[in-house]
Symmetry: C2
Subunit: 462 residues, 2 copies
């Protein structure tokens, strides 16, 4: 109970800040003279504290922190429904939107830095097959659910909703496997390899769907040739960035090793990330495709020349910036969920069916495991969490318009957020159960004796 | 010559990016669909690369990197005068403006973290006297120069221009002293202590002038009682923040040590910085006053509880974020210098006289050194560089209006930038000369044998 007091005090601070800050955000000439940064400062305080309180509560419940950021964002966003409008400015601030977008670009840059092209190629056919099956099945299931329940929407909107179900969240799966001491298991390697390939496939699908929507808006139609052209462009961009970027960055970094000025490693890494993100946007792909490619490239660069000058790895420098900006994205995504849409039973039903499609769609991954003696169900369950990538896609869809209407409407956005939360919540307990079952079946002694927690009900997963 | 090729290639890249990016910044529905972040990405690439190239060139010339960022910003900004308008969007982007403002807030937070209240109090009367003399003299000299050469401006504008001449740049002085191996000399300690007190006095003057301008705009007048009230508010804020903030932050950080979630140290530090900046703005002070106070507070907090969880010091986490955002501020300040104003001889004359006032004003600091046997001229020369603080003040003045007219007009802004550049350029060679002279006079063997560089002409300093 004593621990609740600071939490309550901080919640009180939020409300006070909101009540005090709201007029400041609207009128530009109050007491202060700090210009457009002032409401952003207020927003950042609220967002950073909400992210950490939410993250802490969810970690204590054995759930990933990112879910807490999302749920606390939803809570803050729904204060408006309760008549407290002091935080409404968070939803429309251009400054926070830009910081959130920089956050998601840095997140994909970090994912790219952690992914290794060589390792991706070496995990072999099982990962590739698991990834491809795990992208195709949820894609068509999601498309089907959308076409069935939202007959009024256009085909491209259904396809976009299908696309939000594709990509597994590497971060969440890896975190759970690490917590269970299972990162070195063969099943884990397949899951992690597949999740990375998944990301790439998801980014390609996103590029195709976004490109088709752009073409459709300018009067064109859904043409197989155009679709192939966009797929080609996306693949050419990724391969080209890896080859040219890898060649070029080695040389640039070697030259940079000769420089005296401080902070050159950080500046070059960020410039490379922003440059590829910007080029990706210019050629019609999503910015995050470029950020991911930049991460892959810089993962391969050797920092030996710079190594003697800087005591830092590139990740060490990017992580604090990510730690600052990435929560802004997730809290803002939560803030934008319009909880009032759940008043419509149809939205709840859509969210439920979408979640079922997302979970069932990944169960087919079990068929992709070629090796014998492995626990296929664990691989499939490991592919279930969607986390950030689904959210990122939904966020992009909410900004795209098709014939003047948002591709991802507010109710659909809310349903996608529910799907992300359900798939992510379900995974940790389910994975504990299936991995323990697999160990028992083979008579292996589990490394860390993961006892299935009795207080959690077993989840009906396939 | 071979080294020039990559530099030329990068300059070419700038121009190409600008030419390609300019339409993207203006039309929102081009090929991309990345929203408002896309022009910001382009701006960040240009700014980060310009900052590092400029920094490198100036470091190789024995000058601080920050000058290079400023001068390269001016160069990029003047491309528009040569008919290349591709980078003009940098000057008006709200996103970049917000990032720059966050950068300067983080910079003052870093300065606060590096300053130690206990040390400030212990350097004694010499530092205090040096600081007070070094603030009063340039303030009135600047006021006088402005009143003489700009008879059309209002008194408050003259006072504001005087205020931009007050504060010594801790960073630049410390850097030069460290480079000369002189950080432990008694003269250096006086200069560094005085520079910190200087910052505080400068922030108080800024608060008073800004507050008076706000009062004047709402129909009030320059009243001694009001001025005293603002001085009282500024001092009460700093002292209150130190006392209450110090007491509260110790408890909050101890509680935070009990949390499991990652990144809590960074989130709390940033929240504290943003919260005090925001409060400062709300009560009519500049945001940077709050950021500086937050840094002073967190410098005193013991991280023993968190220390076992995190391997990082607070500075280590803030430095990469500062390394990303601080150059945005300086390059943007350079970009906003309208070089065409130098076409008017009156502006050049004003810049020259302002620079002389800035240098001469600090020479009186020599009288503040109470101890015998010290080289007083070195102390005075060490107080000359203005660097970031003068620029920050000028930037704030450019955003303030007095009876519908900017307090710092574009020609005055350009003159202040020249003053900052001159005072900063003059210091390193002058300090080398005076310190060596002082060593010779006392028959001391200089620690690192700083030979006065013959190729640099001796500067007529007092």
């Amino acid at each position: 109970m004593r621990k609740a007091i600071p939490a309550l005090a901080i919640l009180g601070l939020f409300l006070a800040l909101g009540a005090w800050g709201a007029p400041a955000a609207e009128t530009t000439d109050g007491a202060g003279h700090g210009g457009p940064v002032v409401p952003v400062l207020l927003g950042l305080i609220v967002i950073l504290l909400a992210a950490k309180i939410g993250g802490e509560l969810f970690e204590r419940m054995g759930q990933p922190a990112v879910l807490g950021e999302l749920v606390f964002g939803m809570t803050l966003g729904s204060l408006g429904l309760l008549g407290f409008g002091g935080l409404e400015f968070l939803k429309t601030s251009v400054g926070l939107e830009i910081l959130a977008q920089l956050g998601v670009i840095l997140l994909l840059f970090q994912v790219g830095l952690e992914s290794n092209v060589g390792e991706m190629l070496s995990v072999g056919w099982s990962s590739l097959l698991v990834a491809v099956l795990g992208v195709i099945a949820p894609f068509f299931l999601g498309w089907g659910v959308s076409a069935w329940l939202l007959p009024g929407e256009e085909t491209l909107a259904h396809i976009f909703i299908g696309a939000t179900l594709c990509a597994t969240s590497v971060g969440i799966t890896a975190r759970v496997l690490a917590d269970l001491g299972k990162l070195s298991a063969r099943e884990s390697k397949i899951v992690l390899g597949a999740a990375v390939i998944d990301d790439v496939l998801g980014l390609v699908i996103l590029s195709v769907v976004s490109g088709t929507i752009a073409a459709s808006n300018s009067g064109g139609s859904l043409d197989t040739l155009d679709t192939l052209a966009i797929i080609g462009k996306a693949i050419a961009f990724l391969v080209g960035a890896l080859l040219i970027g890898g060649w070029l960055s080695r040389r640039v970094f070697r030259l940079a090793g000769l420089l005296r000025v401080k902070g050159i490693l950080l500046a070059l890494a960020l410039s490379a990330c922003f440059l590829l993100s910007w080029i990706a946007d210019r050629i019609g792909l999503a910015t995050i495709v470029g950020a991911f490619a930049a991460g892959l490239i810089l993962d391969g660069v050797e920092f030996r020349d710079l190594g003697e000058k800087t005591k830092h790895h590139i990740e060490e420098l990017i992580n604090p910036i990510g730690g600052f900006l990435v929560p802004v994205f997730f809290v803002l995504m939560g803030l934008r969920v319009d909880l009032s849409t759940f008043g419509q039973t149809s939205v709840l039903g859509f969210a439920a069916l979408l979640s079922v499609a997302a979970v069932l769609g990944k169960m087919i991954c079990a068929a992709g495991v070629l090796e014998r003696g492995l626990d296929r169900l664990s691989v499939a369950v490991g592919m279930v969490p969607r986390g950030e990538v689904g959210l990122i896609f939904a966020g992009i869809g909410a900004q795209l318009t098709l014939h003047g209407r948002a591709v991802i409407t507010p109710p659909v956005f809310a349903a996608v957020v529910v799907m992300v939360i359900v798939t992510t919540l379900v995974t940790p307990p389910a994975l504990k159960i299936t991995l323990a079952r697999g160990d028992r079946k083979r008579g292996r002694v589990p490394e860390t004796a993961p006892v299935p927690e009795p207080e959690r009900p077993a989840l009906p997963l396939g």
